[in-house]
């Protein structure tokens, strides 16, 4: 799904990419061009200079506090733990990806930071400890209350919204990593000869090239 039509469609479909206002990002870019020290920037292949400058600047900034990053890491690994097929979200570098996205798309900063805070407050109310200080069983008890949008109690709705956001970022980060792509079984992005759908698959679905 990488043609323009699919990208367009994604913005309206349930598995959509995040909408953003290009005006906003361009305005940001303008600002950093004037404020950046002129240390030499290595422009990676396929990037434009302004993009490389912007990326380098974002890489240097920090968004999450160490405490927040620890919470993100615990949550990401609850959402995508290691299983028989692949490793965990943190093994695939998901927390660092989420950290970058908070700076790249600042519209997510408040929902993410506020959600982490909501979680800690809830955890303190229940267990007298921040989320990362709670026992594994306590963490799961809390997560169970916010992980199922259809079953959660109404008073948990903010927690549910936050957990869905965490789930989405974690999944996107994981399945676009080397480990995740292997897990999902995508086999392309390599020189190939397309000879059509394999015969056993045609047979499985009862379709053919003759009709």
């Amino acid at each position: 799904m990488k043609r323009r039509d699919s990208l367009k469609a994604l913005t309206i479909s349930s598995l959509g990419v995040v909408g953003l206002n290009p005006q906003e990002t361009l305005a940001e870019r303008r600002e950093l061009e004037t404020s950046l020290p002129d240390d030499p920037i290595k422009v990676p292949g396929g990037r434009q200079k302004e993009e490389a400058i912007r990326d380098a600047k974002l890489m240097k900034e920090k968004f999450f506090t160490p405490q927040e990053l620890a919470t993100v890491t615990v949550l990401a690994d609850i959402i995508i733990p290691a299983d028989s097929k692949s490793g965990s979200a943190s093994q695939a570098g998901v927390p660092a990806f989420i950290e970058f996205m908070m700076k790249d798309l600042p519209q997510w900063q408040t929902p993410m930071r506020g959600g982490l805070r909501w979680l800690d407050v809830e955890s303190r109310k229940r267990f007298n400890k921040p989320f990362t200080g709670a026992t594994k069983a306590q963490q799961i008890q809390l997560v169970d209350d916010i992980a199922y949008p259809g079953k959660a109690k109404p008073e948990m709705s903010q927690g549910v919204a936050f957990f869905s956001l965490m789930r989405n970022f974690t999944a996107t980060g994981f399945y676009t990593s080397q480990m995740g792509i292997k897990d999902i079984g995508y086999m392309g992005n390599t020189p190939n000869q397309w000879e059509g759908v394999p015969a056993d698959v045609l047979k499985q679905y009862g379709v053919s090239y003759d009709s």
Partner: protein, 580 residues
């Protein structure tokens, strides 16, 4: 900044503004014929085979945002420098109307990342007014353009199949790739509801055609540009070979300001431009000026080239420049395919586009809207990128696991990982691309108050869809629903209705804008003659989509290429005859 204007000492035979489809073709044809060409390009140099620019075959994790569209509208790996908004180069809108304008600033323009859908217009597409009384007929027929379509097919390469459909003329085709699995489903389902599905026609080399360009290796990433030159980009297929003739002087980062004309004859004498990096002012002298900066930019240049002789702007004594702007219509729908859950994995990348499409199949005389549309398809097991897996909580509570059990929506853990795996590659979608009726009320003009950062007055758009387009979009939605339902798909979202004009995309969004300097036999109602030559100045030509009288229900680029080739042949002929 220096206000000293630097003149090129030589007088070029031709100065071409813009290196996209239209400009690249003119540069190629004219330089091969021996003309000394100055090629002005507002963007930077780009070669899809130079590692400096290559994004092809990169993995999502090579982008810190995993390909998200933060700085490029179609994502980090897309070969488009520019987009809907360009810093320091605004455009405006009028009367609360909408128009979104996509510009690429790079060698090759928008042909580096375009969809490679390469359709000829059919005989009817040149004479719509004769058929339905709306708009205007072209001053040329399919037979006038056919020899040029044939030459473009041979020079550039396009795959497809011989179908013998009257208004979907066959070309000189390379073999098309076989359909993917979901495309077979589409074909079978469409047959049930009487919609034809035939192999796509894309300018991708499924077989090598010469020694300069390789064969497609099926990475499905044409939008990133092809390092094997196996698809059509003006940069790799036209401009770089034209440079090799030694007859082309390329000026990159050269933003044309206006076309200069002789105060007594009104003929063009050259072009003034600003060097975008040094901010210096220059002129290039030439005997012939060819505008190919894209339909919008060329109209802007003509309107900004005002003089005592051309008081309305160049080529605009008729007042039509900027008018009759029209984009294709577009609407989409997608669906989840339960029967594709847990599918077997294999490499189904294929070419960079759908392997099948639906040409327009109905008779508008029997419908409540005058013009047709074609359908483009997508789906399958693509490479994950930013956004992958988003919204799983809307899916995983609805469909049983392979063992028949249901589980609550959302969740986490090993069982959630199973969900991403089972839903992967189980989606299809489709988009209609239709013909709008060109109207004088849809136009671009010079904004009297706004200039860009180079001080060049900018375009202001006024554009509204009419009932014709809205009813067409309604028909698209009904068709999409029929096909998707016949496939056993579960349609995503709710069906777009009148509140959203049936999902009709805002004008400009389909990026097929044309018509702003239309051709015609009458200098009072057209800017150009049938050879894309200005009625008001015979050494001025426009070879982008500006010359279109009407956009068909087909994408425009193959016709831009053919008409630019035709205009170039005419120029060569006229120079030989000493008329130019």
């Amino acid at each position: 900044m220096s206000f000293q204007i630097k003149e090129q000492p030589t007088v070029f035979d031709v100065c071409i503004i813009g290196s996209g489809a239209g400009g690249g073709m003119a540069a190629y044809q004219l330089s091969k014929a021996g003309a000394k060409v100055a090629l002005l390009e507002a963007g930077g140099y780009f070669d899809p085979a130079d590692p400096k620019y290559i994004t092809q075959l990169k993995w999502p994790w090579e982008s810190p945002r995993r390909g998200a569209s933060t700085t490029r509208p179609f994502g980090d790996f897309d070969a488009a420098w520019g987009g809907w908004e360009i810093e320091g180069e605004p455009y405006t809108r009028k009367n609360g109307t909408e128009f979104d304008w996509f510009r690429s600033r790079m060698l090759g323009g928008r042909t580096n990342h375009w969809g490679r859908i390469s359709l000829r217009f059919g005989p009817d597409d040149f004479r719509r007014k004769s058929i339905d009384g709306l708009g205007e007929d072209w001053p040329i027929t399919y037979d006038d353009v056919k020899p040029y379509y044939d030459q473009v097919d041979k020079l550039v390469g396009v795959f497809g199949s011989i179908e013998n459909m009257r208004n979907e003329p066959d070309g000189i085709f390379l073999p098309p790739p076989k359909p993917r699995l979901h495309e077979l489903f589409i074909k079978n389902a469409a047959k049930k509801v009487n919609v034809p599905v035939i192999p796509s026609r894309l300018s991708i080399l499924t077989k090598a055609i010469n020694n300069e360009r390789g064969q497609c290796f099926y990475c499905s990433q044409c939008s990133r540009g092809c390092q094997a030159y196996a698809d059509f980009s003006s940069s790799s297929v036209l401009v770089i070979p034209a440079l090799k003739t030694g007859n082309v002087t390329l000026f990159t980062n050269a933003m044309a300001r206006e076309v200069l004309t002789d105060p007594t004859t009104g003929q063009a004498t050259g072009v003034s431009y600003v060097d975008k990096e040094k901010l210096t002012e220059h002129t290039v002298k030439a005997k012939i000026v060819i505008l190919a900066a894209s339909a919008g930019e060329s109209a802007r240049l003509l309107l900004n080239s005002k003089s005592a002789y051309h008081q309305n702007g160049l080529a605009n004594s008729s007042g039509v420049v900027g008018k009759y702007l029209h984009d294709s219509t577009g609407a989409s729908r997608s669906a989840f395919m339960p029967n594709l859950m847990n599918r077997k994995r294999y490499n189904e990348d294929g070419v960079g586009g759908a392997h099948v499409y639906s040409p327009w199949w109905l008779d508008n005389k029997k419908l409540d809207f005058p013009r047709g549309y074609h359908i483009e398809y997508w789906g399958g097991m693509g490479m994950p990128s930013y956004g992958f897996g988003w919204g799983i909580e809307g899916m995983n509570g609805k469909y049983p696991m392979p063992d028949g059990t249901m589980k609550p929506a959302g969740g986490y853990g090993a069982s959630l990982k199973e969900d991403y795996r089972r839903f992967y590659g189980a989606y299809v979608g489709m988009s209609g691309r239709g013909e709008a009726v060109a109207s004088a009320d849809n136009y671009c003009e010079i904004d009297p108050n706004v200039v860009d950062k180079y001080g060049i007055p900018v375009l202001r758009f006024n554009y509204k869809w009419s009932d014709y387009e809205i009813k067409q979009a309604k028909h698209m939605q009904d068709t999409f629903e029929e096909i998707l339902t016949a496939m056993g798909g579960i349609l995503s979202g709710s069906k777009p209705g009148p509140e959203s004009n049936y999902g009709l995309a805002a004008p400009g969004r389909i990026i097929h804008e044309v018509g702003t300097s239309r051709m015609g036999n009458d200098p009072k109602t057209s800017a150009l003659n049938k050879f894309s030559q200005a009625h008001d100045a015979k050494n001025v030509f426009v070879v982008d989509g500006g010359s279109f009288v009407s956009q068909a229900d087909k994408n425009p680029t193959w016709t831009i290429l053919a008409l630019s080739m035709r205009a170039s042949d005419y120029i060569i002929d006229q120079v030989k005859q000493k008329n130019l």
